[in-house]
Every structure is written in structure tokens, then in C-alpha cells.
Symmetry: C2
Subunit: 139 residues, 2 copies
């Protein structure tokens, strides 16, 4: 038995790929378009960790997907949590829970999927502007 | 960068552990109880695939978590999809999408998290009662 992927639905594939690839740092592994079913599937993973994937399902016909609390978040370990948050923030992503402790941060995808970032190994020393940045919104 | 886990909230830890462990076949790796925060975290994974985990968050104070469509499902590869579905069904779990094709099935957790099961390798030959079993509900 083996974990394969977590699937999330996205309302705008280009906006979501910009978030998951350019800003979060995942890489696209494969893509499947289905004209009849009118959907596109895109599988991504962290570089070097291709066996644990996230699947984006983009239904071509718009739908309000909503949010709920039974699903919590996706968590990724990162090599440098400050660099990861800087890239996200520079891309216009709100850092909902800044890494004040040099260890943990939360952001949300364009479709409000919470993403947890955890520093690999020991927490980094506190550093501005993160150390004094308050929380924003919920995640 | 590395995938760590997907977190889902559960409203009844014992019922959820019965589902994820006894019926789905994941194993508990570690547990963290927090008296002050009034929550318990339980990390599970498929046997032999401990690096890709699911985190159950059980808040001791009840809350209606609801469901939404932005989160899709968790997917696991299984060695024998008929055996996996039989164990789930014998445990009282509805097989929402039976493995009619010997390849794919869907069930839902007690908190309505959709779980996809995918046969490892080639699809198995069609077999009753699965081959003629209709879909039930949604997932």
C-alpha cells in the first residue's frame, strides 16, 4: 500500500499553476486533458520527491467549490522557510501565518487550500520582517 | 522540498481510527495530545510508506466541519483492490464507487473525506459482486 496523491479542485488552472509551481516551488510531472469530460488533470510534486503528488483537477465549466473545515491542509518541508515565504510574498501571496519562530508558516492557494510550510531540521534564528509580522486572516 | 502530510479534521477519533487503521489499512506512527489546546494529533501512513503521512486532528470540543468541493480526495495504491474493498465493506463502509473495472474505487471517511483506491499495476479481471455493483451516493 502506498500514498499516491491528494487531489484538489482548482477554478483557474493558470492562476493555480502560477501558485503551486512558480511561487510554492512544485514541479509539473504530467498532464491529462479530457475533451469529452471537459477537465484537465495536472500532477505536481516537490522536486526530488516525485512519488508523493498533488493532483489539480480543473473542470472547464465553472463551479463554486466553497471551503470547509473537514479538510485541513497540505504540508511541505522546505530547506529555507524564509526563502520560501519571500518567494510567495514577492508573488503576491499573503503569508497568513508568518514564520515568526523560524519553523512554521501557513499560506492558502487561490482556491483557499491551506498549505503548511515546515523548516527542515532545526528552526532558523528569528529574522525580520517575519519575527514581528502578525497573522493575517485564517488558514 | 518534500511532501510531509495531508491534514484532515475528525469529529470522533475512535471512529476515525477504526476507519483509517482497521478498515483502510494505515498504521499509526505517532500521537500528540495537547491538554491546553484540547486537541489530539494522530499521524498515520501506509505500511512501508511512512514518509507520506495523513494527520488526523481531533479537536476535543465538537464543531461541524462541513464538506466542500475545493478539496477532492486522498489516493492510495493497494496491492489487491478487491481485498481492500472487501475489508472496508465488511467493516460497514459504503463502497461509493465499486471497483467494477478491477482498477479504481472510492469510499469516504466518517467525516466525508473521499478516499480513492487504485490497483497496483494492471487492473484485475472483473469479479462479482463488484463487477455489477452500482455507484452509491457521491464522493
Amino acid at each position: 500500500m502506498k500514498y499516491l496523491h491528494t487531489m484538489v479542485r482548482v477554478s483557474d488552472l493558470e492562476v493555480s499553476l502560477d501558485f503551486y509551481s512558480n511561487k510554492l516551488g512544485l514541479v509539473e510531472l504530467r498532464r491529462h486533458e479530457n475533451e469529452t469530460g471537459r477537465y484537465t488533470l495536472v500532477f505536481l510534486a516537490a522536486p526530488g520527491d516525485e512519488s508523493a503528488q498533488v493532483e489539480l483537477t480543473w473542470n472547464w465549466d465553472p463551479e463554486d467549490y466553497g471551503t470547509a473545515r473537514n479538510f485541513g491542509h497540505l504540508a511541505y518541508q522546505v530547506d529555507d522557510i524564509y526563502a520560501a515565504c519571500e518567494r510567495l510574498r514577492d508573488g503576491g501571496v499573503v503569508i497568513n501565518r508568518p514564520p515568526r519562530d523560524g519553523r512554521m508558516a501557513f499560506v492558502r492557494s487561490p482556491d483557499l487550500i491551506a498549505i503548511e510550510l515546515l523548516q527542515k531540521g532545526e528552526a532558523l534564528p528569528p529574522r525580520e520582517p517575519w519575527a514581528s509580522m502578525p497573522n493575517t486572516g485564517e488558514w
